[in-house]
């Protein structure tokens, strides 16, 4: 093999000082760099652990749904976009699990919390666990979830726990992008072809009622989220479905659909097959 190629091999080996960056999109920066991780005294540990856990569960379950799109996205560019969003949410989940574990103080790390809790112990909202459906469903779901999560994280950026505040600040720029991505697609599909508009109407009709649970979990987000949704639907030439109160479980209380059990069975399958294993 010529020395030219050896040269390229060498240059490939250079610039790897940042070993955390296994692949593009992972570990570019540590959002907790320089942040004091001591839990402030005025933050009640048990409640804080539960709060972080719920936010983490939302993110992990949503990321798992996005991962299920991979190799099935409608266009290759969209594979990259959906993976970016999934990776962002997964990153948020990991930081929040770690914080929940620290606040809890029982020695559970991110993997203990993600892989060794049963469905009834998960606190994610039900909207996150619903199956993907078609691309219109997934984009409506992303629009609802990201608008809501962005409204939450924007407020949490000022939280007295400096770790949660740092995670939220990083999340705000990520969620802004997710919401924009979903809104753009909602507009394209709503104002696209007859078929795409029909699929959007169906997705909205099915998913719209799940907003109730979002606002119950974070009432302070309602006005902001409703305003965003109204603006997007207007641009998409779509109408908000009539408000139909439906009775559904409350994910924040551990009441879930059968879809979560299915999702977790897959997510936890390898980890639980050999609990002593190291990965």
């Amino acid at each position: 093999m010529s020395s030219d190629d050896d040269h390229v091999y060498l240059s490939l080996a250079e610039g790897h000082g940042d070993d955390a960056r296994w692949a593009f999109g992972t570990g570019f920066e540590d959002p907790l760099h320089g942040v004091d991780t001591t839990l402030p005294e005025d933050v009640e540990a048990g409640a804080h652990a539960a709060f972080c856990l719920a936010l983490a569960d939302d993110a992990l379950v949503a990321a798992q749904r996005l991962a299920q799109w991979i190799t099935l996205a409608p266009e290759l560019e969209e594979e990259v976009a959906l993976a970016n969003i999934g990776l962002d949410l997964l990153g948020q989940a990991r930081l929040l699990y770690a914080r929940a574990g620290q606040a809890e103080g029982a020695g559970r790390d991110e993997d203990a919390l993600a892989y060794f809790r049963d469905p009834a112990e998960f606190r994610n909202v039900i909207l996150a666990e619903l199956p993907n459906g078609d691309f219109a469903h997934s984009m409506v779901k992303l629009l609802l979830l990201s608008s809501w999560r962005l409204a939450q994280l924007t407020r949490l950026a000022e939280h007295p726990d400096p770790v949660l505040a740092a995670v939220a600040r990083k999340g705000v720029s990520e969620l802004t992008y997710h919401r924009d991505h979903a809104a753009q697609w909602a507009i394209r599909l709503g104002d696209g072809t007859e078929e795409s508009a029909r699929r959007m109407r169906e997705a909205l009709a099915e998913l719209w009622p799940y907003r109730a649970e979002l606002y119950a979990a974070a009432p302070e987000t309602r006005d902001e989220v409703e305003a965003v949704l109204a603006q997007v639907l207007d641009a998409a030439r779509l109408e908000a479905p009539a408000e139909t109160p439906v009775s559904m479980g409350r994910g924040r209380d551990g009441q879930h659909t059968e879809h979560l059990a299915e999702l977790l069975a897959e997510l936890q399958s390898v980890a639980r097959a050999d609990p002593e294993a190291t990965w």
Partner: protein, 101 residues
């Protein structure tokens, strides 16, 4: 359906992507991608060519809107003419971080 250039069986048009990696540098051609509109092209470009690295500047332009700078870049391919053969090949700019090319 569209008054635009042919989309090739609902394939989205091709856009060329130019990235300014950091302040003080020119925008450099990095490749192309498909998108339905300019906004999607920008988003896709950010996802694909910068993996959403903040702080870089991206330009996108429809490939069919590009006019080649010198006529003789075009001629040999489209209408071969002998007197323009002995030119220096024009290269696309290569990003600074590309080793040994």
């Amino acid at each position: 359906m569209s008054t635009e250039a042919p989309r090739g069986s609902a394939g989205w048009p091709l856009y060329e992507v130019f990235v300014r990696g950091k302040r003080g540098l020119n925008h450099v051609h990095v490749g192309s991608l498909h998108a339905a509109d300019e906004r999607m092209a920008l988003t896709n470009a950010r996802d694909l060519y910068t993996r959403r690295n903040e702080g870089v500047s991206i330009w996108v332009v429809r490939s069919d809107a590009i006019t080649a700078s010198t006529p003789d870049e075009k001629d040999p391919f489209f209408s071969p003419s002998g007197d323009k053969v002995y030119r220096h090949p024009t290269f696309y700019a290569i990003p600074d971080d590309v080793p040994h090319i």
